[in-house]
């Protein structure tokens, strides 16, 4: 079903992507926590790429006739999952940013108040 040629091409793409992600984690441009799902996904596809017969087995277990459809289906579910997790993270982030900026505003006012008191004392 899959020729050795496409198997190698897919393998190279996956390994390049894997290296790119690891490199970004190394340079701290990507947090390991959020990159984990991508790493797992790449590992999973890499395994399938090396052993294409697994694909047929899994799709038969799931009751999907064409293995290609299973890839589309699983890929779609996985993408949705990542997007949803991102939305949850975004909500939490915006809450934290809000709390932070409110604390900054309150502190700034306090500092100015103290500065005023200080300069009054000095004069």
């Amino acid at each position: 079903m899959m020729t050795a040629k496409i198997q190698i091409i897919i393998g190279i793409i996956l390994i390049v992507a894997l290296m790119a992600i690891i490199n970004m984690i190394r340079k701290r441009r990507l947090e390991l926590k959020y990159a984990l799902s991508w790493l797992v996904a790449i590992a999973f596809v890499l395994v399938l790429d090396c052993f294409p017969s697994l694909l047929n087995k899994i799709s038969r277990i799931l009751g999907i006739w064409a293995p290609v459809n299973m890839i589309f289906f699983l890929g779609f579910c996985f993408s949705l999952m990542i997007i949803f997790v991102l939305t949850v993270t975004l909500s939490r982030m915006s809450e934290r940013v809000r709390k932070l900026s409110q604390a900054v505003a309150l502190n700034e006012e306090k500092i100015e108040e103290l500065m005023k008191e200080l300069s009054e004392e000095a004069s």
């Binding site: 940013v97 809000r98 900026s101 409110q102 900054v104 505003a105 309150l106 700034e108 006012e109």
Partner: protein, 229 residues
């Protein structure tokens, strides 16, 4: 009793000084704090030039986040009453004293200034009044409490409500939702008749295009709020 007026301000350079003067003259015994929600005009500079008390948010949080900053400030500084007050000249400071007297003599946690009890002054456009009536009915249906002016931004809170709002306050179009939130935890809301003016400067945060979003979002927010009970 320490009381404070919270004035959320986003691009209110033309009316902010007037609003503060109104409070200083007509609401004796009230402190005030302006929350500058990262205005892009000279609001902050004007506040500083006139030596006004201002909290300056480093990023724009929207009306909900700005008002909440005010409640946080009021709560942390030990105020007994905190009242929200628009910076665009719609609200009239002469009612603040009366509202506080009412709260002191009645068992109320949140007192909302309502345009629709005595039906005096600026009554908003027909379409908006329809929206307000709709929210009023929705809240009555879900909580059993009748609020004639659930979108009014003039509302006075005691310390218990201040504490709740300092922790948790809706981000955008917060008024109806925040009222339901405190009704659900058993707080008491009443309304006080006030007269409002048409805004002098600035535009409403609710443009026609956004009003559809507004209706849907606030309806859902109220329903979710009711589910939290």
């Amino acid at each position: 009793m320490k009381s404070i007026v919270i004035i959320p301000a986003y691009n209110e350079e033309k009316s902010i000084v007037k609003t503060v003067n109104d409070i200083k003259e007509n609401a004796k015994g009230f402190d005030y704090v302006i929350v500058n929600d990262c205005s892009t005009d000279r609001t902050l500079e004007i506040c500083k030039e006139n030596n006004l008390c201002v909290l300056n948010l480093p990023i724009n949080l929207g009306i909900g986040g700005a008002v909440q900053t005010g409640y946080l400030y009021a709560y942390k500084n030990g105020y007994d009453y905190a009242v929200q007050f628009d910076g665009d000249g719609q609200h009239d400071a002469k009612f603040l004293g009366e509202m506080r007297d009412y709260m002191e003599s009645h068992d109320v946690d949140l007192l909302i200034g309502s345009r629709f009890i005595e039906k005096e002054g600026f009554q908003s456009s027909g379409l908006r009044r329809f929206g307000i009536k709709y929210f009023s009915h929705l809240i009555k249906l879900l909580t059993g409490v009748r609020i004639t002016d659930p979108t009014s931004g003039m509302r006075m809170a005691n310390r218990s409500v201040m504490e709740i709002y300092a922790n948790c306050y809706p981000k955008d179009y917060p008024e109806p939702e925040s009222a339901v939130a405190i009704l659900n935890v058993g707080k008491k809301i009443e309304e006080y008749p006030v007269v409002m003016r048409e805004r002098e400067e600035g535009v409403s945060s609710i443009s026609p295009i956004r009003s559809v979003y507004y209706m849907i979002k606030v309806t859902l927010a109220i329903l979710v709020e009711a589910l939290r009970r």
